[in-house]
Amino acid sequence: MNFETPDFLPVVPELFVLGMACLILVVDLFLSDRSRVVTYLMSQATLVGALVVTLGLSSPIAQVTMNGTFVLDPMATLLKSVVYIASFVAFLYAKDYLRARSLFKGEFFLLGLFAVLGMMVLISAHSMLTVYLGLELMSLSLYAMVALQRNSATASEAAMKYFILGAMASAMLLYGMSMLYGATGTLDLGELGARVQGAGPSSLVLVFGLVFLIVGIAFKLGAVPFHMWVPDVYHGAPTAVTLFVSSAPKLAAFAMLMRLLVDGLPGLHGHWQDMLILLAVLSVALGNVLAIAQANIKRLLAYSGISHVGFLLMGVLAGTPEGYAAGMYYAIAYVIMTLGGFGMVILMSRAGFEADRLEDYKGLNERSPWFALMMLILMFSMAGVPPFLGFWAKLAVLEAVVSIDLIWVAVVAVVFSVIGAFYYLRVVKYMYFDKPEDEHSLVAGSDLRFLLSANGLAVLGLGIFPGSLLALCASAIG
């Protein structure tokens, strides 16, 4: 029970982001609205710096510090790096959007940085306490970001729903954790795994705890039937916020899944596999079917995201290293695609026009053939058509479930992605085959155009050379 000074080295990226966030908080106070770009630049610099520090600290051996509550392992390094990159991209996409709507304030970037910090803590969690700490830091920042546009009724409503449902889910997660703690007497995830093995999987309290744990995880991932917040939040929030909410936090939620279930409760694999199968199948089914009925592209992407989460879960539920790697690969692929998808919505919008109806994409090919091509790539990739990134991700998770003889899951997933292909195709049809209703030329800064093109091409490039990313994921799982 004695207090020891821990090894702070593995925590340096977290400390760096925290310190910078606090610094920016203070600096931002003294900035006029005209020089707000300083906040933006400092935030971006923080992310770049964090990436450098994280990569500099990377080592193939897992290091546990802070009295066993924090771990730095290859998985953490990889996921954190992707989180920085995704956040960097999201901030850049968001910049002009926010400026056009007089939302270009320090809050967005600061809350974003604190959310990133929360994700980092969550990704590196080695104790249920750290998991919860990271999760709440991330979630609270996200709730506030959704509510950033205070004069928008839909945004406020979305934030309220997100908060209430999120609080419920957090409470259930905590309830589950308390049961696990009660049954095993430890919060340490490594220790928990060992003691669960000892207790035997039939322990009632453990299973109860697991159920609530999964409710919490499923909520954060947005898996059916805990997905209700996703469409409303994606739809209601300003697109710049939606972009952020839909991207990096999914990686953190994936990390939470891995830390709690794979690191913490490997002994209950049989139990959580069943539950994840249910979540995965429901997500893929409902996500794809409901996406068809959407007329709003943000809601459409929300439902598409729900179905992607179903696929991601398939990788994890396999319970094999290949499956985990496939799940991680899927998560990263999804983040790249969703960044591009919402980035396109931002590109198409301008002050007073959100470009969030599907009709707004009519005739994009005539207005801008290049970005129509980018959107085409993104849509085909999400539908899982080769040779784009999304195809390999789907293939990897399907192989994972097939390899453990869960054929029916693979077949169901394929059937519903066939249905899913339908709505992605509808967007393509609007872009290429219909006459434009809106004759405005696209207004966007050259940095946005450049990065969005790079984003689209990355989906293609990583699709043509999928090996390296997959190998990276496999080595991160170890």
Binding site: G185, P231, L286, A293, G467
Partner: protein
């Protein structure tokens, strides 16, 4: 290495085409043609002469994690298809150059066509299932772009979309099937898979695997009932049709059947599925083709029918069936490509494709007519032409097949019937178009086209004749190689033109004469057809299905996505309750084994009051004050429960927290808009009741299950060490100020930050004041009743004294800084409530920030002090003082820490409540009445 170049050359051509098109159409055609031509030349140069050993094979590891290798193999089967794809591709490139309008620069067209060619070559050369799948999907994509080449015709768009949806969906099914196949065989390398045929056929997953793979093949090869995309795809420019629907796209499915023949065939399931579908398609296509008035429509259904024939041949599962199937692949590609090209020329020259209007073209374009007639005759199976040979083999196979037992006659009969229709529509193609009177109302006056556009047709028609007359000298070698690729050996077969008078010969004769008879009777048949044609087509079914899914989606929207938070919460709680209850149904014993306490009267009464109060809160939620009182009743009972189970510390904390929160709620509820009482439908009431009841029950069961399980509590450690290590006998307090002192310090810091945040949020905030309370009741005129003020004032010193008492004794007996702080804060707030803000503020300076800051500083200083003595942060020390009068007093340093907590809590409570209270008083209509006489 040359295998890679076979694929790369067309791809290179695709990339170069747009550039070449900048320099003119001719250059584009030349570059595209040379790409195809070079690839073809390379293939012929490297792969010929053909021997069984001259198979080329290369393999690079690409993504080993997925089992995907870049493996290519050129065996006889692949060679046959490579030659078909490249040779016909070359002719189509030539044809398109003259066919497409001069305004089209052709760059995009050739790029897409060559991209498609690349994908096709990839399919046939792949030696890895996943690689094959990759190219397979690429053909769907590139054919989509080709069919939609004229995107502004709505027909082309619809055709392109339908074909993409159907074939891409089939591709996904194929993906699942190939994954299963690879899983069973243990590798995705085709050579391994092909060698493990027995294992696959005996595997329990054989049937689903077969079904999924066939779905992929059938969608691509337009087999009934998934054929409907093909006629729609006729909206594509004719060169595209000529390429995709003769030699390439539709043959991909057939190729897959041939490729996987050694693995999947020769089972009953294969025979019934492949044979059955093939037979149905053969008959259906042949029948429908006769009734199509559109020239390309006729050819489309004829294509479907011929693909059915090939599928049926493979479905028979016999070696000779496979031989005949491969032979017909070649023959069909040759005559169908030339027919499409001829149809394109006719369309071009007359401006229409309606056979009811195009008549008697013989007079206008005799040369083209001759070519088309020869090709059509080959399609009908006229002797001395290539179509005749494979059709004879087909008839022979149906006769010799013995799977159906007593129904053996069915197959030859159906085959003959299909033959009759096939002849009939071929005759129609010839007679309606080139003879049969004069043209009717043609948009353009037809004439013989330029001779260059006819070159590809001439080449193909010449092939029809050469193969038909000298099969042994022309295709035998290639066919043998291909058959070896499928079967591993060449069974005995004869390509002789004359087998003597046999049953197949008779069937051919019946088909030819029957076909002519049917054609003569066509007008009667058209009438019958128009009256009796079944109105349900699979296309309708498909669209109905997609509309059905859309409707289903909309219905789901209403139940899952109605954007109501209540609905979402209901789902969340219901699912959580169900999943939590699920383990209980598994026969897990709920009772953990610990002894249960006896139920005494006091506990029972407490439980009853709790339940009643909870229900009353819900019932009276519209009368907020009453509901609030009911809620605090719940809190009170909980407090008493703590007392009952001898936890005075908890009870004290609970009580003071309860009071503070009640005041807080009171202040906040004031601002909540009143509004009208919402009507709740009885159904929803029942739903909510069930939901609340069941989740309550589940939580109760969980609590029971958890609490009856034995566990070793950590309290032992604290009970033993509180006095020796922490210097206090109140364990709870010692934990707070000593063992978990760091936590407490953090907590009060957070409290202080929260207080500052709340202060900033409320500063300058103006909320609209509600004019009346619930049920339009007026607010009381007398805001601060005299009696309450009178009673509250003497209470203050008393309460402060109690608080001080609780603080000082806290370390050893129930009490402590937190509780004391709440009590003191409540006492001070009471003055605000009873006498009004102004009155209180005149007498009490607002110093809460001093209190809060001082508290945090004091607590921190206590912690830091221990560092001065070389001890870790927050180590407590115990001091024994001998005071006069009072005697020995034990002073732990923790006391100072506790005072810090006390100050912070007092400050925070007052700050929050006072500032909330100010909101409701600062702009109220009448200023708070001062109880003057009290001054």
């Amino acid at each position: 290495m040359f295998l890679v170049w076979i694929i790369l050359l067309p791809l290179l051509g695709a990339a170069l085409s747009p550039l070449a098109a900048q320099r003119g159409r001719g250059v584009a055609a030349w570059s595209a043609g040379s790409a195809s031509g070079l690839a073809l030349a390379l293939t012929l140069w490297q792969a010929l002469p053909l021997t069984a050993d001259s198979e080329a094979h290369i393999s690079w590891s690409w993504i080993p994690q997925l089992g995907l290798n870049l493996s290519l193999r050129l065996d006889g089967l692949a060679l046959l298809f490579v030659i078909l794809v490249l040779a016909i591709g070359l002719l189509v490139i030539l044809y398109a150059h003259y066919y497409l309008p001069k305004s089209d620069r052709l760059g995009r067209f050739y790029a897409l066509l060559l991209l498609f060619q690349t994908a096709m070559l990839g399919i046939v050369l792949s030696d890895n299932l996943l690689l094959l799948l990759l190219f397979w999907e690429l053909t769907s994509l590139s054919s989509f772009l080709l069919i939609a080449y004229h995107p502004h015709s709505s027909e082309a768009r619809k055709g392109a979309r339908t074909s993409l949806i159907v074939t891409a969906a089939g591709g996904l099914a194929l993906m699942a099937g190939l994954l299963l196949l690879g899983h069973i065989a243990g590798s995705f390398e085709l050579s391994t898979v092909l060698a493990s045929g027995d294992r696959v056929r005996e595997h329990e997953l054989y049937f689903p695997t077969l079904l999924l793979i066939l779905l992929g093949a059938f969608t691509k090869s337009a087999q009934f009932p998934l054929h409907f995309w093909l006629p729609k795809a006729m909206a594509a420019p004719t060169p595209v049709s000529a390429y995709l629907h003769s030699a390439t796209m539709v043959k991909a499915g057939v190729f897959l059947l041939a490729r996987l023949f050694p693995v999947l065939a020769e089972t009953e399931a294969w025979f019934y599925l492949v044979g059955g579908v093939g037979l149905t398609t053969l008959l259906f296509g042949a029948y429908t083709a006769l009734f199509k008035h559109d020239l390309k429509g006729l050819l489309a259904y004829s294509t479907i029918s011929h693909l059915g024939l090939i599928t049926l041949l493979f479905g028979l599962g016999t070696p000779l069936g496979a031989v005949a199937g491969l032979f017909h692949v070649v023959n069909h590609a040759i005559f169908k490509a030339s027919l499409f090209m001829a149809a394109g020329i006719i369309d071009h020259e007359t401006g229409t494709r309606d056979m009811r209007r195009i008549n008697g073209l013989w007079k206008y374009m005799p040369y083209t007519a001759t070519l088309a007639m020869v090709a059509a005759a080959a399609m009908a199976g006229v002797p001395l032409l290539n179509g005749f040979l494979s059709k004879e083999m087909f008839f022979a196979e149906t006769v010799h097949h013995e799977w159906l037992g007593a129904l053996d006659w069915l197959l030859p009969t159906a085959a003959t019937l299909a033959g009759v229709f096939s002849v009939a529509y071929s005759v129609r193609f010839i007679h309606d178009v080139f003879f049969n009177g004069e043209p009717i109302n043609l948009p353009r006056s037809p004439r013989e086209p330029g001779h260059r556009i006819r070159i590809p047709v001439e080449v193909l028609v010449a092939l029809c004749i050469v193969v038909g007359v000298m099969p042994g000298q022309t295709v035998r070698g290639l066919l043998d190689a291909a058959v070896t690729g499928v079967l591993g050996e060449v069974p005995y077969y004869s390509l002789a033109l004359w087998h003597g008078f046999s049953l197949p010969m008779l069937m051919s004769l019946v088909a030819l004469t029957g076909g002519v008879v049917v054609y003569v009777l066509r007008y009667q048949l058209f009438k019958l057809h128009d009256r009796w044609l079944p109105r349900v087509s699979s296309e309708d079914l498909f669209y109905r299905f997609s509309r059905g899914i859309l409707r289903l989606a909309r219905r789901f929207m209403q139940s899952f996505d109605n954007r109501s938070l209540q609905r979402y919460l209901a789902w969340l709680i219901a699912v959580a309750a169900i999943t939590a209850a699920a383990p209980l149904t598994n026969g897990v014993i709920l009772h953990g084994g610990a002894d249960l306490m006896p139920i005494d009267g006091v506990s029972l009464a407490a439980a009853l009051i709790l339940a009643v109060a909870a229900i009353a809160t819900v019932r009276m939620r519209h009368q907020r004050i009453t509901a609030l009182i009911m809620t605090s009743l719940v809190g009170l009972i909980v407090t008493l429960t703590f007392v009952h189970f001898s936890a005075p510390d908890l009870a004290l904390t609970q009580l003071s927290v309860e009071v503070v929160t009640t005041i807080l709620l009171l202040l906040v509820l004031y601002f909540l808009p009143g509004g009208e009482r919402l009507e709740i439908s009885p159904l929803r009431r029942v739903r909510d009741l069930l939901l609340a009841g069941s989740s309550g029950l589940v939580v109760a069961l969980l609590a029971f299950g958890v609490m009856t399980r034995s566990h070793t509590p950590i309290s032992e450690f604290f009970l033993e060490n509180a006095k020796p290590l922490g210097g206090g006998s109140n364990v709870v307090n010692v934990i707070l100020v000593d063992f978990r002192g760091f936590d407490t310090l953090g907590e009060i810091t957070v409290l202080a930050i929260a207080a500052a945040g709340i202060f900033m949020l409320l500063r300058g905030l103006h909320l609209p004041l509600p004019e009346h309370g619930f049920g339009r009741r007026q607010w009381a005129v007398d805001v601060h009743p005299l009696i309450m003020a009178a009673v509250s004032r003497p209470l203050l010193p008393l309460a402060l004294l109690v608080s001080l008492f609780l603080l000082l004794r806290g370390h050893n007996a129930p009490g402590g800084g937190f509780i004391a702080g709440l009590v003191a804060g409540t006492a001070l707030i009471l003055q605000h409530l009873a006498s009004g803000l102004q009155w209180t503020q005149q007498r009490m300076k607002r110093r809460y920030f001093t209190l809060i800051g001082g508290g945090v500083l004091l607590a921190s200083a206590t912690g830091l002090a221990s560092l001065l003595f070389g001890r870790p942060f927050l180590t407590s020390a115990v001091l024994h003082l001998e005071l006069p009068l009072i005697g020995e007093v034990e002073l732990a340093s923790a006391m100072a820490f506790d005072i810090g907590v006390f100050l912070t809590v007092v400050g925070t409570v007052i700050l929050i409540l006072e500032n909330l209270g100010r909101l409701s008083t600062q702009q109220s209509a009448q200023p708070p009445t001062e109880p003057e006489e009290m001054r």
